[in-house]
């Protein structure tokens, strides 16, 4: 996104309800500032993260995607974040083949008490993506909605 003439990344965040969304809430209640680049979506668990969500966000113009969950071993649903790690590894492999830079899609952990770490993660990722520049996949992606086909056959 171009704001006031300069490139400002848009990062779509997927935050789990129990740890990282609460960390973001804590960053808010404790007034720990971070760049206004993150637009976050709440999911119950990182285990719910369908890799196509990440692709959709990038397709729609996101410059980066930040997935955050509970620390390994601390998942509210016991093991959802481990499932997320595995899917993330596969997704990254695909994205690498598509030529996407490593920093654009990241997976991190923040417990409900880690407002500071949450704010730092967003700030760090913002700097990394600023250095990379816009992704602009929206213009390099086929115009048709890939899911529209599926719906049409029903």
């Amino acid at each position: 996104m171009i704001e006031n003439g300069t490139f400002k990344p848009v990062i779509v965040g997927f935050l789990c309800n129990w740890c990282s969304y609460r960390a973001a809430d804590l960053a808010g209640t404790s007034r720990m500032g971070y760049p206004s680049t993150l637009r976050d979506i709440r999911i119950m668990c990182t285990g719910r993260l369908d890799p196509t969500f990440v692709l959709r966000a990038l397709q729609k113009g996101a410059d980066g995607v930040l997935i955050m969950g509970c620390h390994p071993g601390q998942c509210h649903y016991q093991a959802g974040n481990y499932k997320a790690i595995r899917r993330f590894a596969l997704l990254k492999r695909t994205l690498r083949q598509l030529g996407l830079e490593e920093e654009r899609v990241q997976l991190h952990w923040a417990s409900a008490a880690e407002g500071v770490q949450f704010a730092e993660t967003v700030a760090r990722m913002t700097e990394q993506i600023k250095a990379l520049g816009p992704l602009d996949w929206s213009h390099n992606w086929p115009n048709e909605d890939p899911y529209a086909v599926e719906e049409a056959t029903e």
């Binding site: 960053a27 500032g33 668990c45 499932k83």
Partner: protein
């Protein structure tokens, strides 16, 4: 079905949101979003006027969906869902955009950025909400039994309140007796009433209560289920004494030839036997055999306790028992751990003989303790003439614990009083700040000032036995900067007491994980809300009470124990609890029976129906994490309220061009 009609409400939250977000602009812009029938801004949406606005608009404008952009859904989602429900809407046709915690409060100096982010979040919510489906919350029956984990004063209070109301309580305690830390203390501040005198009647009540099953020397191993219907596996460690036969007469531990240093109850100052009862008033009264030290388990010989037992209650071959209990609610009252003073080497604990911890002093001054209540040095006979009490040991110090342990000021004052009363010694209290904040505490501090205790304001840098002058010879020298006078002091004393801080239990994170409760950055359990919901947790049906939630004294622990009990009693009397309908369901007509989801579920909630060759979710076991939904290769598992369509629409909505005046001009056509 007719087109959706969405109402959008953007909250100012006084200045909390409006100071960083252009609220009016966000509301005007939101009006252009697809299907938005009405968009308003409001000073306080959570106030009754804000809620009434929603109710009025739903009726007048025939709204089908509602979006409120205000604070975190963890704060007010319930409030607005209820407002929607009041005007006959299904509460799940509501969505919230968090523009306070996630926008105005974190981007206070970036008005454009915060406003743009707020627009994106509102757009996401509008795009998402039109895909929402009406959901019916699940009602489940609440089992009236309750599990209380931890038999300290907080757990005892909670158990008694619930049991007195006529409902059954299982109390699980790790140690052989209930009582917790309070049972080790001598006097309680500020009234100086005897700790045992006020605690032991309650312990006795727990032990003899018809509605309490006491499981001491036991630990919870597994917790399954959900609020109202938890199944808990408890390991009851083998006492090796038959509780049905034992009378607690005491001849076994009198005759047992093995003396063991008691590091738990006597804080390393006294001894117990290899078969022992932790303290005379222990509940239950039965002893336990310590197999690590018992001769029989080393050489196969001795069996002295068996020989002297009149009722033949000794069972050398007893094994751990596994109990499965069903409960509706759980109270965690697992207490605290005392800061290990060895971690501050310059204070010399463990190296300098006459440096004591607060717990050691409690035992020293306790009439039932190892010295029969005599305050003496480590040699067991010398009465100290000068005593230094160091406050804030391991607390309020970024190297150890940044939190204030809340009790040390008052217990240090209590120690000063007891030392003076019992020995007439000169007492120096070294403090950073005095924090006697509760009822009667400040008065107690003034009493101590009048009694002649010397207070020196300053953090002690070192305690040493290296003398610089003849009067320091053979003494412990406390070195400290007196910050009120502005000079360095060396105070020679005979005895030093370290007021050790309170820390979370060493295994609090594992215990928390077992029960679905998370720990804060200090390691104490996190409550649902720090002010308004201090005993509930993010897991429905699991409550926390006492020092496991944060350092606190006896009155506060008792209050929390009773508060947790009150919360539980209200659900028991209601008989039912409403669960979020966030559950997975499988479209069986399209399921290929690949069984990939079966192994995904951490709760074994997905069964494979053999004759139909499809998978099926058991809604009572499903907790709605959505891991199976993401895993299904045919995308035929629906995660209610977090469906594929809803989340995809939310992504599309969040990515709209917020800088454009009317990003939907084309789409709307």
């Amino acid at each position: 079905m007719s087109e959706p009609r969405v109402g959008v409400y953007v909250c100012h939250c006084g200045h909390n949101i409006a100071s960083a977000v252009d609220v009016e602009h966000v509301a005007e812009w939101a009006y252009k979003l697809p299907f938005v029938t009405i968009a308003r801004d409001n000073k306080f949406m959570c106030a009754s006027t804000g809620q009434e606005q929603i109710e009025q608009d739903v009726k007048e404008h025939d709204l089908t969906h509602v979006v409120v952009a205000s604070c975190s859904p963890h704060m007010h989602e319930k409030t607005f869902r209820n407002a929607c429900a009041r005007c006959g809407m299904n509460p799940y046709l509501f969505e919230m955009a968090n523009i306070r915690e996630h926008a105005s409060w974190v981007h206070p100096n970036d008005r454009d950025g915060a406003t743009n982010k707020a627009k994106a979040l509102v757009s996401a919510a509008v795009h998402r909400v039109i895909h929402h489906q009406p959901l019916e919350p699940m009602q489940v029956n609440i089992r009236p039994e309750t599990l209380v984990v931890g038999g300290g004063i907080a757990g005892i209070q909670a158990a008694l309140e619930i049991a007195d109301a006529g409902h059954h309580v299982y109390m699980v305690e790790r140690e052989p007796s209930i009582g917790g830390h309070m049972a080790m203390f001598d006097k309680t501040f500020p009234t100086l009433d005897c700790s045992a005198c006020i605690l032991t009647p309650k312990m006795f009540d727990v032990g003899s209560h018809p509605h309490i099953t006491l499981l001491t020397y036991s630990e919870v191993e597994q917790v399954d289920g959900y609020v109202g219907n938890f199944s808990v596996r408890v390991r009851k460690k083998a006492r090796r004494v038959d509780e049905d036969l034992c009378t607690g007469c005491g001849s076994c531990w009198e005759k047992c030839p093995i003396k063991v240093l008691d590091t738990v109850f006597e804080a390393g100052l006294g001894y117990r036997k290899a078969i022992y009862r932790p303290f005379p008033q222990a509940v239950p009264k039965y002893p336990v055999i310590d197999t690590e030290n018992c001769t029989y388990y080393k050489t196969g010989k001795c069996r002295m306790c068996e020989k002297v037992c009149q009722t033949n209650a000794i069972r050398f071959d007893a094994e751990d028992e596994i109990l499965n209990i069903e409960v509706g609610n759980i109270v965690l009252a697992t207490g605290y751990k005392l800061f290990d003073c060895r971690r501050i080497p310059q204070y010399g604990y463990g190296r300098l003989e006459n440096v004591f911890t607060s717990l050691e002093f409690e035992r020293l001054t306790n009439a039932a303790g190892p010295t029969d209540g005599k305050v003496v040095l480590r040699d067991g006979e010398t009465v100290p003439e000068t005593v230094a009490i160091i406050h804030c040991v391991g607390s309020r110090d970024k190297h150890y614990n940044s939190h204030c342990s809340a009790i040390c000021c008052m217990s240090s004052l209590k120690f000063a009083h007891l030392v003076k009363e019992k020995t007439g010694a000169k007492v120096y209290n070294f403090y950073i700040d005095m924090r006697p904040i509760s009822k009667g505490y400040e008065e107690f501090y003034h009493r101590l000032l009048h009694e002649g205790t010397t207070f020196i304001r300053g953090k002690v840098s070192e305690i040493t036995d290296a003398a610089h002058s003849p009067e320091e010879e053979g003494k412990l020298v406390v070195i400290c900067e007196d910050t009120l006078v502005g000079k360095q002091r060396r105070v020679p004393v005979d005895m030093v007491l370290l007021a050790a801080g309170l820390e979370p239990r060493a295994d609090s994170s594992e215990v928390g994980h077992l029960f679905g409760v998370s720990c804060g950055d200090t390691g104490f359990f996190i409550e649902r809300h720090p002010k308004l919901d201090p005993v509930a947790t993010m897991t429905e049906g699991v409550f926390i009470a006492g020092a496991c939630q944060g350092a606190k004294d006896i009155p506060d622990s008792v209050a929390q124990g009773a508060a947790a009990a009150a919360r539980i009693l209200s659900t028991i009397s209601k008989g039912q609890v409403i669960l979020e309908p966030i559950r997975a369901s499988i479209d069986e007509s399209r399921c290929s029976g690949c069984r990939i989801c079966n192994n995904m579920c951490p709760y074994n909630a997905i069964d494979f129906v053999e004759d139909l060759a499809v998978s099926r979710v058991n809604p009572a076991l499903c907790k709605g994490c959505g891991t199976c939904v993401a895993a299904c290769p045919s995308q035929i598992i629906t995660g209610a309220h977090f469906t594929f369509d809803q989340l995809m629409a939310e992504i599309d909505g969040i990515m709209v061009d917020v800088t454009a005046d009317d990003p939907f001009a084309v789409e709307a056509v």
